[in-house]
Amino acid sequence: MTLWGRPRQVLLWSLLALAVSLLVGLWVGPTPVSFGQLVWSLAHPNQSLVSVIIWQIRAPRVLAAALVGGSLALAGLVFQALLKNPLADPYLIGTSSGASLGATLMLMLFPVLAAIPAGAFVGAVAAVLAATAAARRRSGTSVVTVILVGYALSVILGATTALLLTLHANDLQTIFFWELGGLGGVLWPQVWELAAALGVGSLGVLYLHRELDAVAIGEEEAHALGIDVARVRWQLIILAGLVTAVAVSASGLIGFVGLVAPHVARRLVGSLHRYALPVAVLGGASFLILADTIARSIPHIGEIPVGIVTALLGGPFFIVLLLRSTRLEGGR
């Protein structure tokens, strides 16, 4: 296997895939738009119906899907390295549920829109700390145990959120949205928020990409290389918590993107984070755009939560990985 040359090739293909996904996402929708019309309105925004549909409804939604997908993939990549656990995903280990509970609490205590992501951030970081504490309790804690503990955490946090929402607003619609994830009704301001968070997150993780490589090998090795392991761990948790929090605030709980995208990326370019990071983020973005396009194109129904689509696509993938990792457990 040659690693040189290939990562760059994969990166180019990932960019191309993202461009195609963006176009498909903009093209497909309840109002039929020809490809020519699409290209024309992209190049010349005006007040025509098609242009408004594309620029004000589809573009923010498709971009939000891309940014949420990229954010979840980034968080998944970081957690997988940090926990040395190939099954880690912000949804499966409870980070997303933590963010969702934090956002809900904030919504009830300080109903200011800008405060919601802050609450989500605190909830996400607290949930990561709980999950990593479980992972570090004993050096021999197995890959599957960590995931089970994380998943239990996620269920508890999700139930608490649902309880709060039921008691407070009796708003089943909102609960449905949080639990299954959806990108309907996303507007431009949220797109900018998502872009800022993913920008900061990606730059931060890129800055730490060699530390991430070293920590993924072993913490004692990382220490010997001159890394302040505790500090880098905190920095990474904060970056991953940030992107997860903003993604969850915009779209609720969307599972498996953070599991699938980093896996496919590592399979394609190896586990060096310098390459795996951009490929995972671009892949996660394309994956969620396409999943969202499917979610809003079901005939006769109109729209289903995108979390259903990602779960149906990513769930089987998770089971395969789970079976494979339990088989490998003896050797670890």
């Binding site: 296997m1 040659t2 690693l3 040189w4 040395k84 730059l203 890129l206 800055y207 730490l208 990409h209 060699r210 530390e211 490589d213 070293a214 993924a216 090998i217 072993g218 004692e220 090795e221 220490h223 010997a224 290389l225 001159g226 890394i227 302040d228 190896g270 586990s271 060096l272 310098r274 050797g331 670890r332």
Partner: protein, 270 residues
């Protein structure tokens, strides 16, 4: 010349002491072998020397400075540790792995991939690959290497760091006699070049053949410290390792050779 001084060092988990009141005074330019039975505290000692573990009491002084108090980047230029090899393997190419040894010296531009590694970094990586004899494995993923190749690749990472002290936990583990010998030759060369080298070892004969000084550790305490010939006497070896081990001088050079004997109760020294 650099000095690594351990004074009255104790370490334990919960109430069980792993090391108690251990003192050592080591100089750079020498190869020090730390030997002792399983569970004697060799790995713990190396982890304390590298600053990874915090002692319960006592000090680890590198040229008069407490290792734990050094800033991580500065510490990495003074001392590095190659821990025991684990089963888990990753797919990083060897040269990328070795480049991690230069991690603390990278600039912002290099971290964000806007600039290539500096010439000094490239040169250090190159000479580490040469010294550990893994130059031709540079592009290979770590996972695909044999046990001996992995062990040399991990040594190369430490060498690229250019730290004055090199700590190794069982560098000869999983290696056949030829490869074990080659690793020791490389470590001895590092010591000749002025580095301090401390290796925890199980193979007493191999350790004795290469070490300038030897520390025999048992049950968390220092039993003997001196040249291999001084430390590996028949009586000490039997006292610490039990069994019916025999010690004879090496036909070339006279360093102690530890021999197992098959007779359950015999094996008296001639």
């Amino acid at each position: 010349m650099s000095r690594l001084v351990v004074s009255h060092l104790s370490f334990g988990y919960r109430r069980r002491l792993v090391l108690s009141d251990l003192s050592l005074d080591m100089e750079s330019g020498q190869l020090v072998a730390v030997v002792g039975p399983n569970g004697a505290g060799k790995s713990t000692l190396l982890r304390l020397l590298s600053g990874w573990l915090v002692p319960v009491s006592g000090q680890v002084l590198l040229d008069g400075q407490e290792v734990r108090d050094l800033a991580p980047a500065e510490r990495a230029r003074k001392v590095t540790l190659v821990p025991q090899m684990t089963e888990a393997a990753h797919d990083m190419p060897v040269e990328e792995l070795v480049a991690l040894g230069r991690l603390t010296r990278l600039s912002l531009g290099q971290r964000l991939l806007l600039r290539p590694l500096s010439d000094a970094d490239q040169a250090a990586i190159e000479s580490a690959l040469m010294a550990a004899d893994v130059k031709e494995l540079a592009k290979r993923p770590f996972r695909e290497l044999s046990g001996g190749e992995r062990s040399r690749a991990r040594l190369a990472v430490a060498l690229a760091q250019e730290a004055s002290w090199l700590l190794l936990d069982e560098p000869e583990a999983h290696l056949d006699p030829g490869h074990a010998q080659a690793v020791m030759v490389c470590l001895a060369a590092q010591a000749r070049a002025g580095h301090g080298v401390v290796a925890a070892m199980h193979d007493l004969t191999l350790a004795a053949a290469f070490a300038d000084r030897m520390a025999l550790v048992d049950q968390g305490g220092l039993v003997a410290w001196g040249t291999p010939a001084e430390v590996l006497t028949s009586s000490l070896v039997r006292q610490v390792y039990g069994g019916q081990l025999r010690v004879i001088p090496h036909p070339e050079g006279g360093s102690p050779v530890v021999l197992p004997t098959a007779q359950p109760s015999g094996g008296k020294e001639a």
